[in-house]
Amino acid sequence: MTPTMKMYGKHRFPGRLFIVEGIDGSGKSTQVALLQKWLESEGYVTFFSEWNSSPLVREVTRRGKKKRKLTPMTFSLIHATDFADRTEHHIIPPLKSGALVLADRYIYTAFARDVARGVDPSWVRGLYQFAVKPTLGFYFRISLEEAMKRILGGRDAIKYYEAGMDMKLSDDIEESFRLFQGRIIEEYEKMVSEYGLVVIDASLSIEEQQAQMRQIVLGSLAGTKKTRIRKWVDLNTMVKKVSPK
C-alpha cells in the first residue's frame, strides 16, 4: 500500500522536536549547541539537524546561489525541497525511534524569509504542511542593531542572499541587510502568537538564556527514553583498554 502524507500537527511520534529560530546574530546556534551538550550529558539520545543541509539539494542550492539565479519562488521551493528531504531522512526516523531532535532553524525561517521576499504568506505555509510540529519552538528575540553589531564584529562578510540583495532594496550590502532583516523580524514577531513560539530575550547573558531553555525543555521530557548504549568514543577507549599490546 502507498503510504500517505501526514500534515502539520498530525504526526505522533515518541521522540521530541526542539527547534530554535531567530535572525542571524541572535545567538540561537550557540544556545541549541549548549542544549544538545546538556541533553547528551543527561543520557538522552539526540539528533541535530541544520537548515539547508540535505546532500541531495545542497549542490543545486549552492549553484543557484552562486550564479544568483534564484527568484523568490525558486528560493522558496528549493528550501522546501531541502526541508522535505531532511524531514523524510533526518527528522521523522529519529523521532520514531524516540530520540530528541534539535533543529537550528525550522519552517518559520522559510515563512519569514519567503514572505519578506514577497511570496504569499498562506501559500508558503501550505507548502510546509508536511512538516512535523515541534514540541517546542524557541524564538531568540534581538534588536536589529545588536544583531548587526555581533555579525559585523564576528563573521567576515554578509552573504548576498542573507542580505536580501536579490530584493534590490539597496546597493549597499549592509543597508540591504538591515532592511531585509528588519522585514524578517516583523514576520517572526507575527509568528510568535500564531505558532506559540517561546520567546527568549537574546540580549541576556548566554548562561541566563541557557538556564531558561533547559528549564522549559525539562518540562517536556517526561516519558522519553535515555540511552543505555555508551557513545562510540567510550566504547573505543574500552576496546583499547582490553585489547592486548
Binding site: 502507498t2 502524507m5 525541497t81 522535505a84 511570496v119 504569499d120
Partner: protein
C-alpha cells in the same frame, strides 16, 4: 482571450501578468503516448505558419535539471521531496524560460506541465489538497491537449519502443513483483489521475491511435482557433 491568470491567488511576486502577450500550449499524457512526437510536429507546423515557438519539457531547467537527474540515479527521493524538487524545477522553467518568451510574444509549447507532476505526486500518496496548492503558482495555459491511450495500447507501445525504465515503472512504489506488473499498475494509477484532472482542468482530450497523421490533424483542429484569437 484575456490576460493570463494563475491557478491560485498569487504567483510570482516579480512578474506583471499584463505584459504577457504570447500563447501557452501544453501537451499532456502518460508515458509513451507520443507527446514528444506531436510536440515536434506542432513546433514545425507553428513555425511554418509564422509563429515564433519556444519548446520546452520537464527536468530541463538550468537550476534543478542536473540535480534531478542525479537524484533519480540514486533513487533516494521520498514522495514529498520528489514533488517539491520537480515543482522547483518547473517554477524555474516557468519563470525563467516560459514567462520571458510569453512576454516576447512567443507561442510556448511545453511537453508536460503541472498535471504530470501532480499525477506523479498523487499516485505516491501525497495529499491532494497539498499537491494542488503547491502547484497553484502555475499560469493557466491557453490549451491543454491531453493525449489519451488505453492501458493495453500504452503497454504495447512502451514495450516496443524503449523498454521499462525504473521511474516510469514506479518501482519506488513496490506495486508489483516484477518490472512488468509494477509498470502496469503504476500506469493504471497515473491514467486514473489524468482522467480525473481532465474535467477539472478543462483538458482537450484526444484519443490517440497508431495513425500519427490522423492524431496530429485532431490536435491542429483544437489549436487553430486559439491562434486566431488575440490576447
Amino acid at each position: 482571450m484575456g490576460r493570463f491568470e494563475y491557478y491560485g491567488e498569487k504567483g510570482f511576486p516579480e512578474v506583471d501578468l499584463s505584459e504577457l502577450k504570447g500563447k501557452l500550449i501544453v501537451i499532456e499524457g502518460t508515458d509513451g503516448v507520443g507527446r514528444s512526437t506531436h510536440a515536434g510536429l506542432l513546433k514545425q507546423w507553428l513555425e511554418n505558419t509564422g509563429h515564433a515557438v519556444l519548446d520546452t519539457g520537464m527536468t530541463r531547467s538550468a537550476l534543478a535539471g542536473e540535480g534531478l537527474k542525479e537524484a533519480k540515479e540514486g533513487h533516494t527521493l521520498g514522495a514529498v521531496t520528489m514533488t517539491l524538487f520537480y515543482a522547483t524545477d518547473f517554477a524555474d522553467r516557468l519563470e525563467n524560460e516560459m514567462i520571458p518568451a510569453l512576454r516576447a510574444g512567443f507561442v510556448v509549447l511545453t511537453d508536460r506541465y503541472i498535471y504530470s507532476l501532480m499525477a506523479r505526486a498523487l499516485v505516491r500518496g501525497a495529499d491532494p489538497e497539498w499537491v494542488r496548492q503547491v502547484h497553484d503558482f502555475a499560469l493557466k495555459p491557453d490549451i491543454v491537449v491531453y493525449l489519451r491511450v488505453t492501458i493495453e495500447e500504452l503497454i504495447t507501445r512502451v514495450v516496443q519502443n524503449a523498454g521499462f525504465n525504473y521511474w516510469e515503472s514506479g518501482m519506488d512504489l513496490h506495486l508489483g513483483e516484477d518490472l512488468y506488473d509494477s509498470f502496469v499498475e503504476y500506469q493504471k494509477r497515473l491514467l486514473r489521475e489524468f482522467d480525473n484532472m481532465a474535467a477539472q482542468y478543462n483538458f482537450q482530450t484526444i484519443e490517440t491511435s497508431p495513425n500519427i497523421e490522423e492524431v496530429f490533424e485532431h490536435i491542429k483542429g483544437r489549436i487553430e482557433p486559439l491562434l486566431r484569437s488575440p490576447r
